[in-house]
Amino acid sequence: MTKTIKSTFFYAGAIVLCVPPVFVFVWMILTGLKTGVQNISYPPEFIFVPTLENFRAVFQQHNFLRYLMNSLIVAGLATGVSLVLGLPAAYSIAKYRQGKIGILILVARMTPFVSYLLPWYIIFRHLKLIDTYTALTITHLIITLPMVIWLMVSFFEGMPEELEDAAMIDGCSRLQSFLRIVLPLVRNGIATSAILSFIFSWNQFLFSLILSGPKTKTVPVAVYNFISYGKIDWAGIGAAATLIVLPVSVFAFFVRRTIVQGLTMGALKD
């Protein structure tokens, strides 16, 4: 009997502790489902007839599909390049204990983003590369490449070495054994770092704010622009925010087991 009461209290507390994240998420969706007038009425309406009008407007009047595509292209490119460059590097760091490369990654992580942004802005302005996918991808790599390397090092370190040795005896070259034996063994790690890299690039605001333009505007900048021209379109923000956050939330759900490890970038190691 007391056990049931105790457990009831525990779950009551757990629900209370889950209210803040859930409430903001729900409020975001509700804002997107309300009309402009409903959004500025007081007291706020909790029960109303939902409308999909805002979502239609976001796509038709604001060309949101274009921005979603831009974000998809930049995040895809940044993730792809990070994996191609990062996987062999992380493998080598784990295998040959090349800890010094870690210092480079730490410097990359500690330096404020604006310290990269100012030089890159000057360089891209000179090369007439502002508002190109190239400029956005290069700057997003500053975040995603160190992240992929750091994350993958711990996955490679956890891999049994004997398997690779067996492959070598079998007559594989090191390259073959890397591609056909090692990489399939760490596919969970690759999936995790790919998804996290994609999320970080998708969420990136500062670089895109300065380096994108009408052609390459990414979704965080697009939704921010809802407030910068004249009056604030709250319903539009709600709909756009929902569209931006939803794919990220789905992705995050898939890698929830390893996401903490990814976001801490090995802080809890050693």
Binding site: Y11, L17, A89, L104, A108, M110, F113, L118, A167, I259
Partner: protein, 316 residues
């Protein structure tokens, strides 16, 4: 979180047999012999170009006076660093940074620890809690900050509605210089406490069981166990979480820029936000770079102190 080894799938025996035993080419032989050099090289070269060169350029600019788009950088030695001391917005920026970061980091750490201790048990639905707790920090910061901006509206925002409905007075939140920092801290705490919780929870799960059993046999109560056993054992993890969090917190941009842009006036303008304004609104490349270097040094100094504390905690 399960240890890494368990997540690695069992090797597929069939894989080996599919590998062709062809004669390796010269390139492949070279790559095999110099694997430790060839494999990391592309990434290191890329990082050198995208990270080190911009930092070097940024450092060079700190010694110059230059408005982007007008003429060429002019060498002025330490002029920019001398200017820092007579700039009131720098002092304001440091004050705002200390106020915002000090308050938000300590609240996130304390709440994150307490919530983690609360959830540190086997229960049905722990996966759901985990998924819910990932949302605030994985969701796009700009999008979430805009929703908060709507919720914090003093006249029609839902936050004041909720306060008033339980009989409390509404707040001006981010519209008043007096409450803007606590309001921004609230949003930051909302966003990042869950991450600290998940990190500490992972740490708690890996703690040894023996001290707890011994304490329970000795008749220690819950608070004594927490204070004398859990806290000392989890301390290194807390410091590590703090260091990790400080990297982003001291350089918080998206959330503050989206909600207040440093306002009202300059009452929420951190040093980092000011360095952005100098660089990209005033286009003063030299002075802006100097400010960015100062921000970097603050982050570096904070982490070096914390690392020392962490190493000492591990030695005990």
């Amino acid at each position: 979180m399960p240890p890494l080894r368990e997540q690695i799938p069992a090797p597929r025996v069939g894989t080996k047999t599919t590998v062709m035993k062809t004669a390796p080419s010269a390139l492949s032989r070279f790559m095999d012999r110099h694997q430790a050099l060839v494999y990391p090289a592309p990434a290191v070269i890329a990082l050198f170009f995208i990270v080190i060169i911009p930092i070097a350029y940024n450092l060079y600019l700190t010694f110059t006076k230059w408005t982007i788009g007008l003429g060429q950088p002019r060498f002025i030695g330490l002029g920019n660093f001398i200017e820092l001391f007579s700039d009131e917005r720098v002092l304001n920026g440091v004050k705002v940074m200390v106020y915002f970061s000090g308050l938000s980091l300590s609240l996130e750490l304390a709440l994150g620890l307490l919530i983690a201790v609360y959830f540190n048990r086997e229960f049905k639905g722990s996966e759901i809690v985990q998924a819910i707790y990932i949302f605030p920090f994985a969701a796009t910061p700009v999008a979430v900050a805009l929703i908060w901006r709507i919720m914090l509206n003093p006249e029609i925002g839902v936050m004041n509605y909720l306060l008033r409905s339980v009989g409390l007075p509404g707040s001006l939140w981010v519209s008043s210089p007096l409450t803007v920092i606590p309001a921004l801290v609230m949003v930051d705490v909302w966003k990042w406490t869950p991450m600290i919780t998940l990190i500490v929870l992972a740490g708690l799960k890996s703690l040894p069981h023996d001290p707890y059993e011994a304490a329970r046999i000795d008749g220690a109560n819950t608070f004594q166990i927490f204070w004398h056993i859990t806290l000392p054992l989890i301390w290194p993890v807390l410091i590590a979480a703090l260091m990790l969090r400080s990297l982003d917190n001291l350089k918080e941009f998206d959330m503050i820029y989206t909600i207040t842009q440093g306002g009202p006036g300059i009452s929420s303008e951190t040093l980092y936000l000011y360095s952005y304004t100098v660089g990209f609104s005033f286009f003063k490349a030299g002075y802006g770079s100097a400010l960015m270097v100062v921000v970097f040094l603050i982050v570096l100094a904070f982490n070096m102190v914390m690392n020392r504390i962490r190493l000492r905690a591990q030695d005990l």
